[in-house]
């Protein structure tokens, strides 16, 4: 049975292996240059004795390529689910080949398990190798950027889990929907939904975060906050700021900072009502719509007033930083990998049950 499973999977396997090889060769060549450049940068800044600004600048080199390769690692599991998972059984249902293969001398349980094993392992292998290639390529940039959680889903182990899960999801959807193209669409939709949910809803709750209390810094505290899709999603799942006062995010190397809140001694959040009462004249300024996107140029007098306001608020309030330290990165990686692989195994078991009991029971069209 393993030979049939391989024969049916041969063409996509060879095409994918070819594409992976191209990426690997390119990354090996380009990655060597990148590593050399990083070594040179470090050597140069060591002589000056200050590397912080030099590494920060280096982290932004090749940003387009970095983004592209990162996106590739994000997208490949979805492609695996859509093109390897969804058609695995759905295409056989559609083409009417199940009566042919299910009446050979191989039980349908073994038929399904073999196909799941062969293509499932290939899914994990493909995503794992791609992740390895990209992780190695980006190592100088990641070291310089010191924000390892930012690329959490594109490095190391978790892409394997995503791909194996996406594959099992695709097979399951194909068994349920029974038609290839709708199954592909549903697989993509559900996979994206699950990834968003785990990234913003589940992952932050896996481990109890650490906290850091800081005094409010009148110079670095701003008003209002930046808006991006990822920030909006995060605040939808985990709650957004409660006041317009936006304290500076401290620099903690490689940490994952959940939030920087302004709280009093009892841990209550600062609200806009309190902020208004404390410094009414500043809030009048802050409420005015900005004249241009980005930083709003403010008059020196307004800036002075704002600093005075932050100092006033700082008497009873302080900044509370909630974060995961860098040391937990691997615990997160292994846990998320286990969650996704576990979910994939459950889906595979559901498919097995369905293929043995139900698939023939519905409508009779096999």
């Amino acid at each position: 049975m393993i030979r049939l499973a391989w024969r049916q999977f041969r063409t996509p396997a060879v095409v994918s292996a070819g594409a992976l090889l191209v990426v690997a060769v390119f990354a090996a060549v380009s990655g060597r240059d990148l590593a050399n450049a990083y070594a040179a940068t470090l050597a140069a800044c060591d002589r000056i004795g200050d590397c912080s600004s030099a590494t920060a600048a280096f982290a932004r080199t090749d940003s387009g390529l970095n983004f592209g390769l990162g996106t590739l690692v994000t997208v490949v599991p979805a492609l695996v689910g859509v093109f390897w998972g969804a058609p695995l059984v759905a295409r056989e249902i559609e083409a009417g080949t199940l009566p042919l293969v299910w009446t050979q001398s191989v039980t349908r349980a073994r038929w399904l398990l073999t196909k799941l094993a062969v293509v499932g392992l290939a899914s994990g292998l493909a995503a794992g190798l791609l992740s390895l290639v990209v992780t190695r390529w980006a190592r100088p940039l990641d070291n310089a950027g010191a924000a390892m959680y930012d690329t959490f889903g594109q490095r190391h182990l978790v892409p394997i889990g995503y791909a194996v899960f996406a594959f099992a999801l695709g097979v399951t959807v194909g068994v349920l929907v029974r038609r290839t193209v709708p199954a592909m669409a549903v697989t993509l939709f559900v996979f994206v939904a699950v990834r968003i949910f785990t990234t913003y809803g589940l992952r932050p709750r896996l481990f109890e975060p650490s906290h850091l209390s800081l005094a409010l810094d009148p110079v670095k505290t701003g008003f209002g906050s930046a808006v991006s899709p990822s920030i909006l999603l995060n605040s939808w799942f985990n709650g957004g700021p409660t006041s317009q006062l936006d304290p500076a995010t401290p620099t903690i190397a490689n940490a994952w900072i959940y939030s920087t809140r302004v709280v009093d001694a009892q841990g209550h959040d600062l609200t806009d009502t309190v902020l208004n009462a404390t410094c009414p004249d500043v809030m009048a300024h802050a409420d005015a719509p900005p004249s241009a996107p980005g930083h709003v140029p403010v008059a020196d007098s307004a800036q002075e007033a704002a600093r005075a306001c932050v100092s006033k608020v700082g008497v009873s309030y302080h900044e509370l930083v909630t974060y995961q330290p860098a040391g937990r990165y691997w615990a997160f990686q292994w846990t998320e990998l286990a969650i996704y692989v576990g979910a994939a195994i459950l889906l595979g078991a559901a498919c097995l049950w369905w293929v043995r009991r139900r698939i023939t029971g519905r409508g009779g069209g096999i």
Binding site: T11, T97, T103
Partner: protein, 304 residues
């Protein structure tokens, strides 16, 4: 027709009741030639009575060696619709059995139950003395060619033979290659490029080369042109004689079956209306077998 004494008649009847509905018809076949249609029409009430008889009498000692398929009260339900209900029949071994009946009679459902693609909702079914598709061994004993004779369009003819060799313990590669050569098929040709007739022959080759004891074919010629139809039917006849394999073949056309089958079962509304060796069923008054079968189908319509 040799006359039989009354006691022999009774014995036949008791055995027949035990064996299932087709044998019940045995005393009828004689009647058919004399007065067609009516005496053979088994109404549900009669069937129940006779089954009752079977359970009373000596049913269990009957050997199932001479049957390839035994169904008792077999039913299959899809949601609220019964595709097959309360079907009781026996299919004799060593024959080419034609299963004929109108669309919706339950032929396909019955055959899919027989090869284990479906599981019955009610009743029991035994094929070659075992539960259909119970294990690889049982799967290997039954060859199946499904309606529309499916093959993998992207795989070549050779790939299909490899598939057969990979998935079947008793695969006879010599037989498969010989058949492909005789048919004049290009081994490198993709199955998707084959004509309907060639595809059907490829599907048949797969089913035959696994060396089954029973070959089940579900309307294999429904979509073929007359020439391909005739060749396919001839191939089935050759296979049955060459390898001594029992064959069950369904169609809604009597003329398809008449040519090759030596035993006929007429299924209408899940029930056996007529069963017996073709030479016994063929009316003596010069009418065709098809007329007889049609009579039984229309009699059923009128009965409803």
């Amino acid at each position: 027709m040799p006359p039989k004494d009354a006691r022999a008649q009774v014995t036949v009847r008791a055995q027949a009741a035990a064996m299932g509905a087709w044998s019940l018809q045995k005393p009828c076949h004689r009647a058919v030639t004399a007065a067609p249609v009516e005496p053979c029409l088994m109404r549900p009430r009669t069937a129940r009575k006779l089954r009752g008889l079977a359970s009373l009498g000596s049913s269990r000692e009957l050997d199932t060696h001479d049957t390839v398929l035994e169904a008792h009260g077999l039913g299959k339900r899809y949601g609220r619709r019964w595709a097959l209900s309360d079907c009781t029949l026996s299919v004799p071994a060593g024959r080419i059995v034609g299963l004929v009946g109108p669309n919706g009679a339950g032929k396909t459902t019955l055959l899919r139950l027989a090869v284990g693609l479906l599981a019955p909702t009610t009743g029991t079914l035994s094929v070659l003395g075992g539960r259909p598709a119970a294990n690889p061994h049982q799967l290997g004993r039954v060859g199946f060619v499904a309606q529309e004779t499916p093959t993998y369009p992207n795989l070549s003819v050779t790939d299909h033979l490899r598939l057969g060799a990979w998935l079947n313990e008793r695969w006879d590669n010599g037989l498969a290659e010989r058949r492909i050569a005789e048919l004049g098929l290009d081994p490198r040709q993709r199955a998707g490029r084959l004509s309907g007739g060639q595809r059907a022959q490829l599907a048949l080759t797969l089913a035959v080369a696994k060396r089954p004891e029973l070959l089940v074919l579900d309307e294999p010629v429904a979509s073929l042109d007359p020439l391909a139809r005739r060749e396919f039917m001839r191939a089935i006849g050759d296979i049955a004689t060459e390898h001594g394999v029992s064959v069950v073949l369904s169609s809604h056309l009597v003329t398809d079956l008449e040519r090759v089958c030596d035993f006929m079962i007429v299924l209408v509304d899940s029930r056996v209306r007529l069963a017996g060796p073709v030479e016994e069923l063929t009316p003596a008054d010069g009418r065709s077998l098809e007329d007889l079968v049609l009579d039984h189908m229309t009699a059923q319509e009128a009965h409803r």
